[in-house]
């Protein structure tokens, strides 16, 4: 392991990049810890955002105004304001108010707030994708299912949702790739993710460029993994003869 690291540092220095700091235990462990935090953040927000998306999509397509309108308002506000501002509003403002209300019992950490805010944010995007998927299921296909005596529930689970998921999948995966990139804003509220770790290191020393390249590589790798998983799912759920 260390041998490879030394080799890499040596190779990079021939390109004029000084990765010597990776040989120090402290910056290396800081970065590793940050990478781990980012991974956890991604994992939890992916799950959280998908659940939120499902819930919101259910509200949107419920056909009941009292449910659909608040969901729509939430989605529009979420889509049309910056995540950073949402994060500030939640972590700096809401958290402070919450603290004044319940005192020091407030269990929400910055990490938890990032998970909540990004889950809700991307959930709004998932909900849109799922709703579009549900609406893209041709009415005639539903009619066909009804003519085969399917009940509404059977229709939903056997025809509408499987088709909607397939239609929404490309959007959902794009959203998830976007989500991975978005976790970088966690650094703004001092969650020790990889971006924050990198900032902490470059404020102490002068290796911004090297750290940037490391960061871009790391996020690129994560997006690549999500992309691969997405492609695998798409291949599994492919409907031969349709689309790509």
């Amino acid at each position: 392991m260390n041998h490879w690291l030394e080799f890499f540092v040596h190779w990079a220095s021939s390109l004029g990049l000084n990765y010597g700091f990776l040989l120090d235990a402290y910056p290396r462990s800081t970065l590793a810890q940050g990478a781990l935090t980012t991974l956890w953040l991604c994992l939890l927000t992916i799950i959280g955002s998908l659940l939120t998306g499902l819930g919101l999509a259910a509200l949107l397509t419920s056909g009941k105004r009292a449910l659909a309108v608040p969901a729509r308002v939430f989605i529009e506000v979420t889509r049309n304001t910056p995540t950073l501002v949402q994060l500030y509003c939640a972590f700096l403002v809401l958290n402070m108010l919450l603290n004044q209300a319940v005192g020091t019992a407030n269990p929400l950490t910055p990490f938890a707030w990032v998970v909540i805010v990004i889950s809700l944010h991307k959930g709004a995007f998932h909900a849109e994708a799922l709703r579009a998927g549900i609406e893209a299921v041709p009415a005639v296909t539903l009619e066909a299912a009804r003519s085969l005596a399917f009940s509404n529930r059977q229709l939903l689970w056997n025809v509408q949702l499987p088709l909607a998921l397939r239609f929404a999948l490309p959007s959902l995966i794009n959203n998830l790739i976007d989500l991975v990139k978005m976790t970088a804003v966690a650094s703004a509220i001092a969650v020790g993710d990889i971006t924050y770790s990198a900032i902490m290191i470059w404020t102490q020393s002068d290796n911004v460029l090297e750290l940037m390249i490391l960061l871009l590589g790391f996020y690129g790798l994560l997006s690549f993994i999500v992309n691969c998983v997405g492609r695998y799912l798409e291949a599994r759920l492919r409907m031969p003869g349709y689309g790509h």
């Binding site: 005639v140 296909t141 005596a149 059977q154 490309p170």
Partner: protein
């Protein structure tokens, strides 16, 4: 065919059925009877309400006025979805656009309704499905997906799918209109065999020669009313009404056919609202 009207109750009967879409009258007093074992064709110009009649019979649409009876069921009086589901178990429907489920294989398309709706076990359902596929000469495509089949093949699968419910009656809604000319024949052959076996069928069709050949009774509709009805011979050889004559002159000359409609589910999501966020 011997006349059995006096002995047997009609399987389907419509009396003075009126239906309007958003104030636009589509059906304006339809009367129609289908006796068990009969093949009934409904012909007429596009937009005359032919497909709407079929949708009313199976409860996909609810008329504003009039009576619809299928066996002992008063379709127009059904209020609950559960009751309509009971009706649909007995009435098959084949669509112009086939409407197979694109995410399921051919065999799964045939098994899903018997398994989920009728609660039959997998082995029986599969045995039945394979038998029906053989009947429509599609057994070699059991594991293919609808998107991989030609229009005629999909339509034959759709007919087999309707048959899996062992219906008392099958409704065919312009089933050849979306097909390439060369595949129309294979679908018509399947329908012809069904009528010969004594399956009660109602067809909406633009294939006049075919309607003439297989129908016991033909109804001519225009502008939401039945203009004329009678035996195939009567309607095609000696139409009483001037409108019928006019229609048949054109229709028999050049069979009306709409071009096949492409249905690519991905087309709708092209360039959809950009899903980026910061």
């Amino acid at each position: 065919m011997p006349s059995i009207e006096s002995v047997v109750e009609p399987l389907v009967s419509l009396r003075d059925v009126h239906l309007a879409f958003a104030g636009n009258p589509v059906l304006k007093g339809i009367n129609l009877d289908v006796y068990p074992g009969q093949a009934v064709s409904i012909i007429g110009p596009s937009g005359s309400g032919k497909s709407t009649i079929l949708r009313c019979i199976t409860g996909l649409l609810q008329p504003q006025r009039g009576q619809i009876r299928v066996a002992d069921t008063r379709v127009d009086a059904l209020t609950r979805e559960a009751q309509r589901i009971e009706l649909r178990k007995r009435v098959g429907f084949v669509f112009q656009q086939y409407n197979l489920f694109p995410h399921l294989s051919v065999l799964q398309n045939l098994m899903i309704a018997p398994r989920k709706v009728l609660g039959r076990n997998r082995i029986d359902a599969e045995k039945d499905a394979r038998a029906l596929l053989a009947k429509v000469r599609m057994e070699h495509k059991a594991d293919a997906y609808p998107g991989q089949l030609s229009g005629g093949q999909q339509q034959r699968v759709a007919i087999a799918r309707a048959l899996t419910m062992r219906p008392q009656l099958i409704l065919f809604d312009e089933v050849t209109s979306a097909l390439d000319p060369e595949t129309v024949g294979e679908v018509l052959t399947v329908i012809r065999e069904l009528t010969q076996e004594g399956m009660t069928c109602v067809l909406v069709t633009h294939e006049m020669r075919f309607a003439e050949e297989i129908s016991d009774v033909v109804y001519f509709t225009e502008n939401g009313v039945i203009v004329e009805h009678g035996s195939a011979e009567q309607i095609f050889e000696h139409p009483a009404n001037e409108r019928t004559r006019e229609f048949l002159r054109h229709a028999l000359g050049a069979p009306a056919r709409r071009g096949p409609i492409v249905s690519d589910p991905y087309l709708l999501t092209n360039l959809s609202r950009y899903s980026l966020s910061v």
